[in-house]
């Protein structure tokens, strides 16, 4: 099952690469650099989804005490941190040629960075507790607090300052992107989502094995 997911993800990633480099056109103002978008944007979407999964799984764990929910939360947080890091790194590489700087404290950069450290803290907390049950319980509480904090971080940082372009897909009315670019983005998003599912499935199995080995 997991293996099939892995192959699907690999195929989708190849398709995504094809869309990004062969199908999508060279963008008019930014040039080829804009192709970084096809890794950057899908990976931040996947990261947000991952943290929503952490939130839901944390509540599920507190309600049912099912170890499976805890493993899902743990795996999803780890993979989410991975994708958040990737977002920050690729965004930085994109920022240098287009904005002229590797890093600027603009709204979205900052809120993604805050998200990153929040969930790194989550993983650190898990690592610091030896008893599995207590680690699960505490981490679940932190998973809930962190997720509820995301909207607060988003708006506070947005009001604080922004230089990033407003979200172009999310805004009401006709999208300002040509359909080719949207399609390429969606294919890459699907590929990253499959990869996320594959990683989480594998990590969950690993956590189960680790739990058995430790028991």
């Amino acid at each position: 099952m997991t293996r099939v997911l892995g192959w699907l993800a690999a195929l989708a990633l190849l398709a995504g690469l094809g869309m990004a480099f062969a199908v999508a056109p060279r963008e008019a103002t930014q040039g080829t650099v804009q192709r970084i978008m096809y890794v950057h944007v899908p990976s931040v979407w996947v990261a947000y989804c991952a943290f929503v999964v952490v939130f839901v799984a944390s509540i599920a764990y507190l309600a049912t005490r099912a170890e499976a929910a805890d493993r899902l939360a743990h795996a999803s947080a780890e993979v989410g941190v991975l994708f958040t890091g990737l977002t920050i790194a690729t965004g930085s590489i994109w920022g240098k040629p287009t904005w002229g700087t590797w890093w600027t404290w603009d709204a979205r950069l900052t809120s993604v960075a805050v998200l990153f450290v929040m969930y790194v803290g989550y993983l650190l907390l898990r690592g610091m507790i030896d008893e599995g049950e207590r680690a699960a319980r505490y981490a679940a509480v932190l998973g809930v607090v962190a997720a509820l904090n995301i909207p607060l971080v988003h708006f506070s940082v947005l009001w604080w300052r922004t230089l990033h372009q407003p979200p172009s897909l999310m805004k009401p009315g006709p999208s300002s992107m040509p359909p080719v670019i949207v399609r390429a983005l969606l294919v890459n998003f699907a590929a990253f989502a499959l990869l996320y599912l594959y990683f989480v499935a594998k990590r969950v199995r690993l956590l189960r094995l680790e739990g058995e080995a430790g028991a």
């Binding site: 056109p25 060279r26 963008e27 008019a28 103002t29 930014q30 040039g31 650099v33 804009q34 040629p97 287009t98 904005w99 002229g100 700087t101 600027t104 509820l148 909207p151 607060l152 988003h154 708006f155 947005l158 009001w159 300052r161 922004t162 230089l163 372009q165 407003p166 979200p167 172009s168 805004k171 300002s176 992107m177 040509p178 080719v180 670019i181």
Partner: protein, 145 residues
């Protein structure tokens, strides 16, 4: 008892989040001051973020000393800007730019950082619709949300 507690608490949290999102959407964010706003109330030594259009014909760049001079305008006022360094790729005459720096008492803006702002319009190569001047400022200000 326990269930009521969680349902009530969840409802209160949801209400607070809804309020946040409502306030967030209706709040208009100002990302930077325009040249006219800066001219109206410039305090020497104070840090600003200044946004406008790089006026055509105003850019001079000395590759040897890395001295970059240009003028930012918004249709009603202009501000001379001085910077030391290489301009970013998206920087160019007739394009929008946001600069960070301080207003100098000698009547120019000393930029420590130039951020060529890319608008949210991603264009296909032959979609050559030239964004008008007003449109440029509008996208610069991020009103296109």
């Amino acid at each position: 008892m326990r269930k009521t507690k969680f349902i009530t608490g969840g409802a209160v949290i949801a209400a607070a989040l809804a309020y946040m999102i409502y306030a967030g959407v209706t709040q208009s964010a100002v990302y930077f001051v325009t040249p006219a706003e800066l001219r109206a109330s410039a305090v020497a030594g104070k840090a600003y973020r200044l946004g406008g259009m790089v006026l055509p014909g105003s850019v001079t760049w000395e590759p040897r000393t890395l001295a970059l001079h240009f003028t930012l305008g918004d249709g009603t006022a202009t501000v001379p800007v001085r910077h030391k360094g290489t301009p970013p790729d998206l920087f160019g005459e007739g394009r929008g730019a946001v600069v960070e720096g301080t207003w100098s008492a000698d009547g120019y803006f000393r930029a420590s950082l130039i951020l060529a702002k890319h608008s949210e319009e991603y264009k296909a190569p032959h979609d050559a619709s030239q964004a008008g001047y007003k449109e440029l400022i509008r996208t610069l200000q991020g009103d296109g949300r």
